[in-house]
C-alpha cells in the first residue's frame, strides 16, 4: 500500500497558496518566515493516526512545492543527515521512514505561550517565530497572527513530531532547529500542519 492511499485526506491547495498573501494583507509576519503552513481536510478523523498521515502528507506537499509534482520516497534508512542537503538545486524528493515517527501531545495554552525564561521558550512554536536569530517577529504580531490563523485555539488537538524521520528536517537540524506540528480542528475538520527547518 502506498502511503496515504487508504484514507482520503485532502490537500487544500488553494488555501495553502493564498496564506502568505493573506498574512501580508493583514500585516502579519511580513518579514520572511521560516515556516511552512499546509492545510488538509480530514473528514474521517482517526486521532493520532490522522496526525501521522498529515505529517507524511506534509512532506509530499513540500516535494510538490520544490519539484512540481507530489511524491515521497519511503526508506528504511535510520539516519537522514548524510543525504544531500540542498535538495532544491539537486532536485531530489524528500524521503521518509514512518517507522521512526513519534509524537507528543501539546495543549493549546502551552503551544501558544510566549513565556520565555533565560532565553528558553516554553513553546517551540513561539521559539521558531520569535527567536529567529536573524529576523525575529514581534510578540504582538505573533499573538495577532495566531488569533487569525486559529480562531478557536482551545479546541485544537496538537501534536509535535520528532525530527529525524525525514531529510526535510536536515538543514534545520544542522542550523537553527527543525519542527513539525500537526494541528486538528474538529469543527472545521481541518488540519493545519506547520513545518520548520530553519536555516540561515
Amino acid at each position: 500500500m502506498r502511503l496515504g492511499e487508504k484514507y482520503n485526506m485532502e490537500f487544500l491547495l488553494q488555501e495553502t497558496e493564498v496564506l502568505s498573501q493573506k498574512l501580508e494583507e493583514k500585516a502579519l509576519f511580513i518579514r520572511r518566515l521560516n515556516l511552512d503552513f499546509v492545510y488538509f481536510k480530514e473528514k474521517n478523523y482517526r486521532n493520532v493516526e490522522s496526525h501521522k498521515q498529515a505529517a507524511i502528507e506534509f512532506i509530499k506537499v513540500m516535494n510538490k512545492k520544490s519539484l512540481g509534482y507530489s511524491c515521497v520516497h519511503s526508506t528504511e534508512l535510520h539516519c537522514f543527515d548524510d543525504l544531500p542537503i540542498f535538495i532544491k538545486s539537486l532536485a531530489y524528493p524528500y524521503a521518509v521512514n514512518p517507522e521512526l515517527m513519534y509524537a507528543k501531545s501539546v495543549l493549546p495554552p502551552a503551544f501558544f505561550s510566549t513565556k520565555c525564561e533565560n532565553g528558553k521558550y516554553e513553546s517551540s512554536y513561539a521559539y521558531s517565530i520569535l527567536s529567529q536569530i536573524y529576523k525575529p517577529q514581534r510578540e504582538e504580531i505573533f499573538l495577532k497572527a495566531n488569533e487569525y490563523l486559529f480562531p478557536m485555539q482551545e479546541n485544537l488537538i496538537i501534536y509535535q513530531w520528532n525530527n529525524d524521520w525525514s531529510n526535510y528536517f536536515s538543514i534545520g537540524r544542522e542550523e537553527y532547529g527543525a519542527y513539525l506540528w500537526t494541528i486538528y480542528e474538529r469543527e472545521t475538520e481541518k488540519f493545519t500542519v506547520i513545518g520548520a527547518s530553519m536555516r540561515y
Binding site: 502568505s20 510538490k64 519539484l67 543525504l83 544531500p84 542537503i85 532544491k88 538545486s89 539537486l90 531530489y92
Partner: protein, 185 residues
C-alpha cells in the same frame, strides 16, 4: 531516450541505504533508457539532456507560494551551443582509475571529482569503488565519453572554480545511459 525517473530521483537514497555518504557530493547522476543507440549522436543528445534537466528544475518552486521564491524564479534558463561540443572516448580502465602518482593529479577526472572537488564530502576509496560497482556491474563493455564544458553556461560557475565535467556512459547490454556531471553549483 527517456529519463529513468525513479532511479534518478532515488539515487542518493539508494546509495545511503548502501552506506555510501552522499552529503555534499559534488556529482550529479542521471539515468536514461536508450534503445535506438546511435553512437556519437546519442551521446551528444544525452549530454544536452543534462542542461535541459537543470532548466526544468529552475521552474520550481512554485511562484505563487511566496514572494521570496518568486525572485529566484526569474533567473534565466541555461543556453547551449551544440556546435561547440567535443568529446573524447575513455577506456574504463582510465575512467575508474583511482591511481595517482605522488603529488600528481588523478589520472581520472571522475576520481578527482569524487575525492577532491568538495572539501566537505566524506566519501573514501571504498565508497567510490562500491558506488561504481552498483552503478556499473559490467565495466568492460561501457562506452564512455568525456565532454568539453564550453558549450553551455550551465558549466560556467564550475569552470571558474574547481572544474566542470560531464561524462556520458552507455551500457549496451542494458540499453542504458548514465550521465555524470561534476561541478559545484
Amino acid at each position: 531516450m527517456k529519463l529513468l525517473d525513479e532511479e534518478t530521483y532515488r539515487f542518493p537514497l539508494t546509495m545511503m541505504e548502501n552506506n555510501i555518504p552522499m552529503k555534499n557530493i559534488p556529482i550529479l547522476f542521471l539515468f536514461f533508457h536508450e534503445k535506438d543507440y546511435e553512437e556519437d549522436s546519442s551521446h551528444q543528445q544525452v549530454a544536452i539532456q543534462l542542461v535541459k534537466f537543470a532548466n526544468q528544475k529552475k521552474r520550481y518552486p512554485m511562484i505563487t507560494w511566496n514572494k521570496q521564491e518568486h525572485l529566484d524564479n526569474r533567473i534565466q534558463e541555461y543556453t547551449i551551443n551544440p556546435t561547440r561540443m567535443t568529446a573524447r572516448r575513455l577506456s574504463h580502465e582510465v575512467f575508474f582509475s583511482i591511481y595517482r602518482e605522488p603529488k600528481r593529479p588523478f589520472i581520472s577526472n571522475y576520481a578527482y571529482a569524487f575525492f577532491q572537488m568538495s572539501s566537505n564530502y566524506l566519501g573514501k576509496v571504498d565508497h567510490f569503488i562500491q558506488m561504481n560497482d552498483i552503478l556499473f556491474p559490467d565495466k568492460e563493455q561501457l562506452i564512455i565519453y568525456e565532454w568539453n564544458n564550453t558549450w553551455s553556461d550551465y558549466f560556467h560557475y564550475g569552470r571558474q572554480h574547481r572544474g566542470a565535467f560531464i561524462w556520458t556512459i552507455y551500457d549496451p547490454k542494458r540499453n542504458k545511459f548514465t550521465v555524470i556531471n561534476a561541478s559545484i553549483l
